[in-house]
């Protein structure tokens, strides 16, 4: 008889909810075991997610312990992928954490950028800056560009347009974020607005 891990947990009643987040969201059967401490998923909280690559919308289960991502795997309850993931989907975990080749320890993916950077005019390298500095200087740049390239009237029509800025991208974000981006970009007056829909 084949018993899946989730089937086994349901059958033996070992599953119980541990986190408040779980209790609130009730998104899937949670399981947190007082079992073999060597087991990778012992005492983890489980959250459902959706793959970040093609538009299949395959479901995944993400397990976290002590605020760190432990595992990403296919969601067996999801009607589209029924637990399966492709090569890319199955390796989503590595976007956050990878195994260090030398120490064999799990470390944050070193290829990732996790602090704001600026590259100054003429420079050949990045400089690290604080969020506060980054936000303040970007806002100043935006205002200067908007104020100098704004088109209030065009052919006798109220245009309220800014020709000096363009915006690209948006297919990676959540829909709620996409709305935030569109709303801000358009309100600044940007009409050269595009995303990954065609390229």
């Amino acid at each position: 008889m084949q018993t899946t891990r989730r089937g086994f947990l349901k059958a033996t009643g070992l599953a119980f909810a541990t986190s408040l987040a779980y209790g609130l969201t009730n998104q899937s059967e949670a399981f947190a075991l007082d079992a073999d401490p060597e087991w990778k998923l012992v005492n983890t909280e489980e959250y459902t997610s959706i793959c970040c690559y093609c538009s299949g919308g395959c479901g995944s289960l993400c397990s976290a312990r002590d605020g760190e991502l432990i595992s990403v795997e296919g969601d067996p309850d999801h009607p589209i992928n029924q637990g399966g993931l492709c090569a890319k989907g199955a390796s989503m975990f590595q976007l956050r954490n990878v195994v260090d080749e030398k120490t064999r320890k799990v470390i944050p993916n070193p290829n990732r950028v996790t602090r704001p950077r600026v590259r100054k005019p003429g420079a050949s390298a990045w400089e690290e800056i604080s969020w506060d500095e980054a936000i303040a200087s970007i806002a100043r740049r935006v205002k200067d560009t908007r104020d100098t390239t704004f088109v209030e009237m065009d052919q006798g029509v109220i245009a309220n347009r800014c020709d000096g800025m363009a915006s690209l991208g948006g297919s990676q974000q959540h829909s709620e974020e996409e709305y935030g981006i569109v709303k801000i970009m358009r309100t600044l007056g940007i009409v050269a607005l595009d995303n990954q829909a065609r390229v």
Partner: protein
């Protein structure tokens, strides 16, 4: 997709054309396989014998960029062999409508009637219908425009309905069917084979097999992706395959449909949200100076004379109400004038944006997780143009080629004055929110962990920037601050910016009591409802638990499958209104009887409609006292069009019906008409394009993806296991071309044209074969496009340096999938 992934199991025949779904949308193959297990047949048409082809029953090669010839030949085959689903076509399409007597197509010039050489565009008057009668708009109680007279609705004149003349016998020589039939008589089997480089016997087998789905009870599914769309006539390619589906009666059926396999996790959401020049959220039009100078004009131009879009201003005004909140009133046209109006002095597509950087018009560039220094066509010109920018803001999780364009091997950073900010973005596990898959399913992602180190979600970054910008305008004033100061930005829960608050704004609610709405049918044009995106109405509408996504439709996880068709009605939410298969009225005949009882989506019992899916038509009416009355079957199967029928011919695009032209850089001459490229092709005159001829660059090339990598590789080249599985890029060539050029498998080769030159390894396979095209041998090559100079693990030359920056006039899609190169061994 008109349908969705799990629905693929219902097809009788598949046509994969312009996609490699097994490799690039692997989950599709699970559902295709279920259909094959039940006896379905799978056809793959592709320049290369792909992994999909390896799993299919029938494979035919095709020369890249000749899809309209292939589909035009199929139209002709369907009509000549009486394979059309006639009852469907007569009732549900405009086949019977009479076209203007002055309509024509001139084979010698390759032009339809109405061409304006000076403007390089068509005046489409002669492509329209003959009018039988003009019906004035009905604003009386119970009429479609009764709502326009309500208090608080801005004044405008609803349109009159020009009812077209029709001939249901389809015999009138001016009816759409006859004009269409005549147009494609030139597309005979021999001509199509010569153009596409196909074998006659195989082509006939493809046509015969696929066109068998014209039987009323059979369903055929077409799966396509960028191989179909990335051409300078890409929009017409997709129209062509849609017309096949209409002629065979495959649209609206379980197992049928027009299935665009989209390439990004939330590109469907971005399209819904109108992150596009000319669109307003929810497939409406963004204001332009010339066409929509004020709200009244917008309403008069955009309101349909019949069909569901007679309601369009309700969606638009509810969106304005969300945008500007209490500052939007009927007196100020709900803030319409604060929206930026697109001018007529410049093309604003992604292609020409780089020209505007080059000339200094665009000075600042925002990048939200997109990498055009690698993905734009003619990337060499794109990065040179970027070096003229004053500033750039990149929001991304890794250092992309765009963020580091100044490090490009052919640029000198000392000469580049652009200030570049790279803001670290959170990963999907590090923030909550909705993604929309290709089948229009809205699904919620929960936050699993906090963003690593100092990374932030795009939403947090938006909030920080917006508060700072608003602060500057409040303190200092500046160029018209009104749009900025009047925009509503109140998406906070417990003092923090929160995706759930925006979810409620997108879903829509009544302004007075903030009651979340379950349907866009409740939206009003008087400012009493607020809704950012009408098509999402209902996805986040649980008033009893507005802070819990798991108790919303977007978080639904029910696995019951009513009807056993894979509809999974209780899992997530499919826009619009949880409808899983759009145009599902067309799954039943004019009397409401399903073409195939086993695949029933909707069915008229004689008294009412039964359904497994949410009906996509007016199935009942509700009186003011709440009485619901079923509406008996009619022919209005496509009620989002004012005709309420699908269009075999159209007057709102660059061609009334698809006509074959050659790619901008083609290895041959157009033999179907006297014009080489589509007359409306965009951007060809720009200095950076540098068209190459077949004499200089005799090899046709297309580009594609591999399963281990994704788009520009920024993410996948950061994952060691994926790099291990697919460590480098390559150019794939046939054994015959390899022999001609003295190239062995694995050799380092240079691939070049007028725009660029890249060095990569040759991958010699039998998956590509030389084709016989118009009497001459044509070699085709293929390149993957996932590499660039950025990244710590695996880098490579920029393949998109070679792609031409010319594009389609409808949607500006560039022509990545068919151009010319030469190859030499190094």
């Amino acid at each position: 997709m008109t349908n969705h992934w799990c629905d693929l199991q219902n097809a009788d025949v598949f046509l994969t054309c312009g996609s490699n779904n097994v490799e690039n949308h692997p989950i599709s193959s699970k559902w295709v396989q279920k259909a094959l297990d039940k006896g379905a047949t799978w056809i793959v048409v592709d320049p290369r014998y792909t992994r999909s082809a390896a799993c299919a029953d029938i494979y035919s090669p095709i020369r890249a960029g000749t899809d309209i010839a292939f589909y035009g030949g199929m139209f002709n085959y369907i009509i000549q062999n009486n394979l059309m689903q006639t009852e469907y076509v007569v009732n549900y399409t405009n086949a019977s409508y009479l076209i203007d007597p002055d309509f024509n197509f001139d084979v010698d010039t390759g032009l339809f009637s109405g061409w304006d050489e000076a403007k390089k565009s068509y005046t489409t008057t002669t492509w329209g219908y003959q009018t039988a009668e003009v019906v004035e708009p009905n604003t009386a109680t119970g009429g479609p425009f009764a709502w326009t007279t309500a208090e608080g609705v801005p004044e405008f004149t609803p349109p009159a309905n020009k009812v077209p003349k029709k001939d249901p016998t389809l015999e009138d020589p001016q009816c759409v069917f006859q004009v269409f039939k005549k147009h494609y008589e030139r597309y005979d089997i021999d001509t199509v084979c010569a153009i596409c480089g196909m074998d006659k016997e195989t082509l006939e087998l493809v046509y015969k097999t696929y066109c068998a789905t014209g039987a009323p009870d059979k369903s055929g599914s077409i799966m396509y992706a960028l191989g179909q769309t990335q051409h300078h006539y890409g929009a017409q390619n997709t129209r062509a395959l849609s017309l096949v589906q209409l002629l065979l009666g495959n649209v609206g059926l379980a197992g049928g449909g027009v299935n665009a396999l989209r390439g990004e996790p939330n590109v469907q959401g971005a399209t819904d949200m109108a992150m596009l020049v000319f669109d307003f959220p929810g497939y409406m039009k963004w204001p332009t100076v010339q066409k929509y100078p004020d709200l009244r004009t917008w309403m008069e131009v955009e309101t349909a004379s019949d069909g569901y879009y007679t309601n369009k201003p309700k969606f638009f005004i509810s969106a304005l109400k969300e945008w500007f909140g209490e500052n939007a009133t009927v007196e100020n046209d709900f803030g319409y004038d604060w929206l930026p109006k697109i001018g007529s002095d410049a093309d604003l597509s992604i292609i020409s944006t780089f020209d505007h950087m080059d000339t200094g018009r665009v000075k600042g560039y925002w990048l939200w997780g997109q990498n055009p220094a690698s993905s734009a066509p003619n990337t060499k010109f794109a990065r040179e143009a970027m070096s003229k920018l004053e500033w750039m803001v990149c929001v991304d999780c890794v250092e992309t080629e765009t963020a580091s364009f100044w490090k490009a091997p052919d640029l000198d950073p000392a000469t580049i004055d652009t200030e570049v900010y790279l803001l670290p973005a959170a990963l999907i596990f590090e923030k909550p929110g909705t993604v929309v898959n290709s089948g229009r399913w809205l699904q919620w992602r929960y936050q699993v962990v906090e963003p690593y180190d100092q990374a932030k979600s795009d939403l947090d970054i938006c909030d920080l920037l917006w508060k700072e910008i608003v602060g500057l305008y409040q303190a200092e004033g500046g160029a018209n601050p009104e749009p900025i100061l009047n925009m509503k930005w109140d998406y906070y829960i417990d003092g923090k910016i929160d995706a759930r608050a925006i979810a409620q704004a997108l879903n829509g609610y009544t302004v007075e009591d903030k009651n979340l709405l379950t349907t866009f049918g409740d939206l009003k044009a008087d400012g009493s409802t607020s809704c950012a995106l009408w098509i999402y109405a209902g996805y986040y509408a649980n008033n009893d638990a507005p802070l819990d996504p798991a108790q919303q439709r977007v978080g639904a996880r029910g696995t019951e499958d009513k009807g056993n068709l894979g509809l999974y009605q209780d899992w997530a939410y499919a826009w619009p209104l949880n409808r899983r298969i759009v145009y599902n009225r067309a799954s039943a005949d004019a009397e409401g009887k399903p073409w195939n009882e086993e695949r029933m989506l909707v069915k008229w019992t004689g008294e009412k409609w039964e359904s497994n899916d949410v009906p996509d038509f007016v199935a009942s009416t509700k009186a003011s006292d709440g009485t619901v009355t079923p509406v008996p079957p009619n022919n209005k199967a496509f009620f989002m069009n004012w005709e309420q029928n699908a269009r075999l011919m159209i007057s709102s695009m660059d061609m009334p019906t698809p006509e074959h032209y050659e790619p901008f850089e083609s290895p041959t001459q157009n033999v179907l008409n006297g014009r080489q490229n589509s007359p409306c092709i965009r951007f060809t005159e720009h200095k950076s394009v540098q068209q190459g001829s077949k004499e200089e660059y005799p090899i046709a090339v297309t580009t594609y993806s591999v399963v281990e990598h994704w788009q520009t590789g920024s993410q996948t080249r950061s994952c060691p296991v994926l790099v291990e599985a697919m460590p480098s890029q390559f150019v794939e060539i046939s054994e015959e071309l390899a022999q001609e050029k003295g190239i062995e498998n694995g050799d380092e080769v240079r691939v070049f044209n007028n725009r660029g030159s890249v060095v990569l390894n040759a991958f010699v396979t039998c998956r590509l074969k030389p084709l016989m095209v118009n009497g001459e041998t044509v070699h085709q090559a293929g390149m993957v496009h996932h590499w660039g100079w950025a990244g710590e693990i695996s880098t490579g030359d920029m393949v998109n340096d070679l792609a031409p920056n010319v594009g389609d006039p409808n949607c500006f899609i560039p022509e990545y999938k068919a151009f010319l190169i030469d190859i030499e061994k190094i």
